[in-house]
Symmetry: C2
Subunit: 304 residues, 2 copies
């Protein structure tokens, strides 16, 4: 099966601590790389984990707190210095484009590649990116400032031809190809062979949801329902429930409740507060609600 996996570059909240760094993830989806969030030092960690930054064509920034984007100016500059020519697509809330423009102006430099900025501004789930391999959706979260989660799904290829319906007379190879690609086919006898009737939908679409900084947000459950893997922030343990609420963050237990109600296959946790040296309590809290939970480890790949 084509590769679809997530590399954790940073699983810390705003302050780095105990070897944990600010937010950043690489998604390898069928050998194409996406970057989600880009905390300070992201380019160093890409290099540490041997991800060529030039493979990244799309960068998604969940919100404009520094621990989610302070590595972006450096990454943009380094891509320029190392000869990037291909356009880069950046998806973020409004404001980042002007900030980067100001940084380039102060440096007296222009980029040798184009950045296409897509500003996100939505109160519902929307499709940001849709190509033959993948879709990326943004959906709103509940944080102190405008913040989005991202749902990434692959497109598993062709529809499945229902050969059992055609035992008497098989259509031509060409007709089957068109059907598998999702097209109705006009036969020579004037009949239309409907794609809905003669094929099953493609199987094995995989879905990964990145739930960035957010207070407990049950509204997202239908948007990420049945996902194969979700990352959910778990800044605090239940013992700091009030602090979580006050700062628009989640506890590990709340992350697990979202995973359970959204019927996902697996939950991975991150964005841990620097107050916790050891994270066992957070894991136990989450597993008591949703057993298939893991704490993310920086440098590890997680299969979708």
């Amino acid at each position: 099966m084509a590769r679809f996996e997530v590399l954790i570059l940073g699983n810390s909240s705003a302050l780095s601590a105990y070897g944990r760094h600010p937010s950043g993830q690489v998604i390898n989806i069928h050998e194409q790389c996406l970057l989600i969030d880009c905390g300070e030092g992201t380019q160093d960690r890409l290099s540490q984990y041997q991800i060529k930054a030039h493979r990244i064509d799309h960068i998604f920034i969940s919100h404009l707190h520094g621990d989610h984007y302070f590595g972006l100016p450096g990454l943009i500059t380094s891509l320029n210095l190392t000869g990037r020519k291909n356009p880069l697509f950046i998806y973020s809330p409004k404001g980042l484009k002007e900030l980067i423009q100001m940084i380039l102006e102060l440096a007296g430099s222009a980029l040798n590649y184009e950045i296409s900025w897509i500003e996100i501004n939505t109160s519902t789930s929307i499709i940001l990116l849709d190509d033959p391999i993948k879709q990326v959706h943004a959906f709103p979260l509940y944080h102190r400032i405008e913040t989005y989660g991202f749902l990434v799904n692959d497109k598993p290829g062709q529809r499945i031809f229902r050969s059992e319906l055609f035992v008497d007379r098989m259509p031509s190879f060409e007709t089957i190809r068109k059907l598998k690609e999702g097209n109705d086919v006009l036969l020579e006898n004037g009949r239309i062979l409907s794609v809905e009737d003669s094929t099953h939908p493609p199987k094995n679409q995989r879905r990964y949801a990145y739930c960035s900084d957010t207070a407990f947000a049950p509204d997202i459950i239908p948007l990420i329902y049945d996902s194969d893997l979700i990352y959910h922030e778990a800044t605090y343990s239940e013992s700091h429930h009030e602090k979580a609420k006050e700062n628009f963050h989640s506890t590990a237990g709340q992350a697990a409740e979202i995973a359970l109600k959204a019927n996902v296959k697996k939950l991975i946790l991150g964005h841990f507060s620097s107050r916790y040296k050891v994270l066992d309590t957070l894991l136990e809290e989450a597993r008591s609600i949703f057993p298939n939970t893991e704490l993310t480890v920086e440098g590890n790949w997680y299969q979708v």
Copy 2:
């Protein structure tokens, strides 16, 4: 003797390479800490070398290329999150203040401590900071954009009382104290005891010059003359002389020529291009002109 030394946080040019990071230095001057330049990841390296960021009250940014300040937004934010109350003084060319304000606005956050911004804009050497312990001067360099070097000197304390002049009748302890602190003293008999006549100037003033990104700039020689230690950028070796000129950088040989002509005691080199894995050639080039040269090593302290 009171401590006066420089910790190298980063000795790479724009691209990190071979474990070398973008520019940053801590100066410990009589147990007070200054930060000069603040490349991406500076806060992590402060922590790695066990420098408490809260000890830093003054930050000097040489110019607005990212490898000299992209770590500043994160440092400012982290100081806030960890409870800083004391004001922070930041000295930089124009533009950085507005940039940081924009970053704070986008994050929807205000700082709990005050930043005093001092914008540098000079074509001669000027004093930026002058207190009982130290002076910091800025002087212009020759780079693609407005760039400054910094000269830091300590104030070695009191003047030296010339007791040999007073063998017959020593002044009172109080009078000697005032003289040593640099004051003329009105005696009871109406005579004035002049500080110039009765003391020698303080000995052992030490001077450190930070020569940031610059093309070969002999104009700075009188400004840093007789310094105890200078850091000078040496982005290139002589074999890339043309590239140095084109990019407004120096070769190791040019750095050494500055050190020689400025009659300094010791030269340390940094801001190495990522094209060099091994730096032996740069060191040899410099030493052939100015023997007391060292390549900086990140994490090392250099005595002024």
